[in-house]
Amino acid sequence: MEDKVKEIFSNVFEVEISEVDNIEYQSVEAWDSIGHMMMISELETEFGISIDMDDVIIISKLSECLDILKKYIN
């Protein structure tokens, strides 16, 4: 799962895979509100899940995203 999430972060936020651990919400141009929404949408499609809005708002870096996804993916 982690590799796939990193790939999504890299594609949506337009950074190298090696950089995805170091970026945060609004720290790069592509991770604005629209980028955030595109990332959530990609995750939902990829893993066939629907992420609650409470969780959507919390995610501001890769590690938080991975923690939250564990709730949805067994």
Binding site: Q26, A30, S33, M37, I40, V56, I57
Partner: protein
């Protein structure tokens, strides 16, 4: 202010994104916004005003906040995620503006106010932010103060407009610098200077194409042609902070066209008439007589509004403008009824079918 700060807006925006994605990047029949003119009075006399405010047209009607609240509930139900409060000049009566914003329930919408900026000081900007406004759009016509002031019909309007954007930014809202572009200026150095100014100040630029409506009624020579359209896309790629409502905001390559937003963004007049967009003065219904859902369904029955158009019908499709926007006396307060157009269209289809059948026999 970010979309993510308003969870309900974020949810609706995501629905919109998913719809567009599944619909090959096109807007289709997905509702997105409300443009509302709650009162048509204005302190400026702009040469291009599409609401005929400089002529004093219906400047005394103020929409009741209770009615606005009901429209907002209906819009929210339809999945509409953005509201543009415009005029007239929304800041003429600030107390009324605060009431309207509270009535809308701004936590449910990406809320913006389009103003000429003349009465927008820091206190007003802070108050707007307090009332849940996310973005303020201010139109600038030129980097030459005299040219802007002449166009707007009032001295100091350029200086005040530019300063208002600084207040907006300081208050934490999204500052949008609006530019009206037509064939007369699309490729001009002056527009380039405006684009540079907006980019340098970390604003977003919104391009509104000039339309032969209101004070510019029947002036089709002002409309952008294909070369202008292509040039604006070039600018979109170059500057990356430029938006148009018909461009696809999700396309990172800055090339894709969402399609003309008629009916997707409904325009409501102070009389409660609902038009296909601010510039296409074709009435779809009235909010005192029908629900927004019924009105939208009626609007999409007209093929020109339902079908994809990569051109802005009002500002780039000269055939549409000549056919549907040239009736003398048409205005936001005297619109053409879409039901007549639907009836005519059905008549033509029935006639075609009849002729085809007759030919086959």
């Amino acid at each position: 202010m970010a979309l993510i700060d308003k969870p309900e807006v974020f949810r609706k925006f995501k629905e919109f994104f998913n719809y567009v994605n599944k619909n090959d990047g096109k807007i289709g029949v997905k509702q997105r916004g409300i443009d509302i003119n709650v009162n048509n009075a204005c302190n400026l006399r702009c040469k291009h005003c599409f609401t005929n405010s400089p002529l004093g047209d219906h400047i005394k009607e103020w929409m009741d906040p209770k009615v606005i609240s009901r429209i907002a509930d209906e819009a929210h139900e339809l999945g509409i995620f953005e509201w543009d409060l415009q005029g007239g000049e929304p800041l003429l009566r600030k107390k009324y503006l605060w009431k309207v914003l509270d009535a809308i329930g701004t936590e449910r919408f990406y809320m913006y106010v389009t103003t000429n900026g003349y009465y927008l000081d820091q206190a007003a900007a802070d108050k707007m932010a307090e009332h849940g406004v996310d973005r303020v759009s201010v139109s600038i016509d030129s980097m030459d103060p005299k040219e802007h002031d002449d166009f707007r019909g009032r001295k100091s309007s350029w200086e005040r407009a530019l300063r208002s954007l600084e207040y907006v930014q300081k208050a934490g809202m999204d500052p949008f610098l609006n530019i009206t572009v037509g064939h007369f200026n699309a490729k001009s150095d002056d527009v380039k200077l405006l684009l540079d100014y907006s980019k340098d100040n970390k604003y977003t630029t919104l391009l509104n194409v000039a339309t032969p409506a209101g004070m510019w009624s029947n002036l089709t020579e002002i409309m952008c042609d294909d070369e202008d359209r292509a040039y604006l896309i070039e600018m979109r790629k170059k500057y990356k902070n430029i938006l148009r409502n018909l461009w696809n905001p999700f396309d990172r390559k800055n090339e894709a066209i969402l399609g003309c937003n008629t009916v997707n963004r409904l325009y409501i007049t102070p009389l409660g008439d609902v038009l296909a967009c601010p510039y296409v003065h074709i009435k779809l219904g009235n909010i005192y007589e029908s629900s927004l859902k019924e009105i939208s369904t009626t609007g999409f029955q007209f093929s020109r509004f339902r079908n994809y158009s990569e051109k802005c019908l009002a500002g780039e499709d000269i055939d549409f403008a000549k056919k549907f926007m040239s009736t003398p006396g048409t205005s936001i307060f005297n619109p053409i009824d879409v039901k007549e157009l639907i009836k005519k269209e059905k008549g033509i289809i029935e006639l075609d079918t009849h002729l085809e059948t007759a030919t086959m026999k």
